[in-house]
Symmetry: D2
Subunit: 244 residues, 4 copies
């Protein structure tokens, strides 16, 4: 098995302006996630952030990215259109994409799914979340039990405007009375997408062992497969006898 | 629009032996549901129960059934195999089927879906349930708001061993900490199935206006469509020029 | 049943410049389709074309459109971004959309589905197409037999870069050796989309009775349902006891 | 990566009575498939056949089977009900299952999917089949091009009475005018199923390199994953604070 090359992208603004967030994530949300993935072996992990040139997502960076992890919130509007489009294109060509938490409202996620993915209910009162396993044979939940328990989280509630997931792997229960489709798999073009809900910046969610485990599992799931080589465009008739 | 012919089938055992159930449903669960559907106009509603000859599901009855509603619990094992198979066959030929609550463990449901549909978590402590709308454009939720609120219900929790629904329309939240896929649409053969979770016999769930409304909506959704007329078996080559 | 308001949108360029197309569709492709739908009763049918102000798709027009039919080919790039976005928004709010043939490459379709929907194989040699019914209980194939036979058509072949359809209703066979997912249903936001493949401008495909019948069926399928009224945004905790 | 244990099951009747089949498959269809898989490394391959005691599918055999491959045709009715049920149960518990060609009519396949999976069109005139890749990012098509070309095959045509696949990976084109969903993935319980169409006994289909490659790919795809450990049955309330 070849090493999977992961780039963890973070907006990285909250950490610079909110001391509470900085305390939880002294090296940024990207740093926390990347730090964990590095311990996992088998992965080659880099990071990139919004305020780097080209948001840290140059062609060179994307060329060595098998799976991109995306966290954004405040500054979805600051992401350049051309870079959002480039990321979308890469996913359709086979790059894996893991969108975390408030990344649901990002240009990248919305352009890949087509619906107004920013639309949902929310409340950031720090309430208990339980993510229940729906498809227990799925590799993304490898090693879990019946559920993941998170003591304090921002709530997201349905109706969430996404296309019905190709595979719905986790559903969240919230203390205050809501539910949410929290682990959603999509196949788009040659690539795979996973949306994973947990991760509000003011709670130490990316230090939770099982949340990190799901992200690690998702990286392995989303990594490109060789697949088939297909072509597009005009093709001649009578190619029937030609095999491939 | 032609009148839809509905048959409400009930095991009808709890009501005869448990005074609490008898008080809530003096005419049986089937009577409560059928009574409501009759007020809805447009429907021609009958009932059938387990202890009638052939469980009340003779060929004549099924011939005049567009949509069958199924409630069972204690006595799944008393349903004759040949009758369960006959109902399955009818669904595959186009009859609509609405399976309610503990009907998830019935022979009919299990044989149509193929998995061990009896497998789930449960607790009958009478806790609050909220059914959240996931697909708000679906006709089965016509007239609802964000959710249905049921003050006291039996809990069903995931993992529920069903095939991923073709359309997941409602997800339940339970006071005690669980979630459940509570409104599940399937297309099987030429027929449509809807699984709808609410309905424990010791709570007046089938007197709840919105629960009854969803059942009414589901009857209209599950009613057979004309569709296409397809054939099976050996067909000749060269039929290409023949049109249909 | 209330009357469904249909707007048939056509690029309407081929008909003005190619005498062969003008002869087949003297009143335009939109005129042929609208003409048929008007004979069907129950429908209130208008047309709109690219070169009208705002492409004929003003707010007033869209306000009285339940289902929009879209045919485009040469001039996808001439459709204004803001109008494509407005149409997308309307679909997500509940308007039905039927995308025909080369409309697969339109801004509207691509933005709603998120993938590069222009990518497929093609050959316009006028070969036989057979559209096989896959889901014979679906209302979109009401009244058909095993298949629709079209003597001369442009070929479209897989791989077609679309998200897996929520319901795959028709698959095409082509004389030259290809297959295609030709009848694809999607639920997006509160709206429904149907992609229907037939319709090259140089063949009289929109005079074919069964092709017109499928379009008519699709209009009825895609028409908005009342559905549920859901809300988005911040919601208070403790709203649990309030019902709706 | 641990070695995957594969059992190739074959009815093994045609080979004993039809010299034409015996010539193509001197060691049986199971022998041809097992022979190829053994060369692939990484796999531990056994075979089992209908006329062995318990059809060769004792508990001991199934205990050391990660993925079961199934070929049957003439003698579906000779498979014992209890053994078909046992295999179904194993799949729901996580064993992978690959059903080949005429195995579509087997008890095992029908009981796992719930529909009358024997229903389809067919013609055994030895015509050309082309299997087109629909999901080119799927591991089951690893290493293919646009399609697989088989010069002589039995035709299977739609309408095929299966539930809509969770993932539709391949669609066949047939010389005589038909199409077929030929590569169908299902997740059922904790297990994965793959239906793969090619394989009529009177043609050397299981000597075709790409057909064998897809079977090999499918073995790797269908192999059990650890997944999550879930529980069923009554659970106590207030377990909310207990983690897992």
């Amino acid at each position: 098995m070849t090493t999977i090359k992961v780039t963890v992208w973070n907006e990285y603004r909250h950490e610079k302006t909110n001391p509470q967030v900085a305390e939880i994530y002294p090296e940024g949300i990207h740093g926390a996630i990347a730090g964990h993935l590095r311990t996992a072996g088998e992965l080659d992990v880099s990071t990139a952030t919004l305020d780097e040139p080209e948001h840290g997502l140059t062609d060179e960076v994307l060329d060595r990215t098998d799976v991109l992890i995306w966290w954004g919130h405040l500054a979805h509007g600051d992401v350049r259109d051309d870079i959002a489009d480039k990321v979308r294109e890469r996913v359709l060509q086979g790059m894996g994409l893991i969108v975390l938490h408030s990344g649901h409202g990002s240009k990248v996620f919305e352009r890949l799914l087509g619906t107004r993915t920013g639309a949902l209910k929310w409340r950031d009162d720090g309430e208990r979340e339980r993510l229940w396993v729906i498809e227990h044979g799925h590799p993304i939940v490898d090693g879990l039990g019946d559920y993941i328990d998170i003591p304090k989280e921002e709530m997201y509630g349905e109706r969430f405007e996404i296309p019905a997931p190709d595979e719905l792997v986790l559903i969240s229960w919230f203390e205050g009375g809501e539910v949410f489709r929290s682990g959603c798999c999509y196949r788009r073009g040659k690539g795979k997408l996973f949306y994973f809900r947990p991760g509000h910046e003011t709670f130490p969610v990316y230090h939770h062992p099982q949340v990190l485990q799901v992200i690690h599992n998702a990286v392995k799931w989303a990594a490109p497969t060789r697949g088939a080589t297909v072509s597009y465009g005009r093709i001649a008739s009578g190619s029937l006898n030609g095999g491939q």
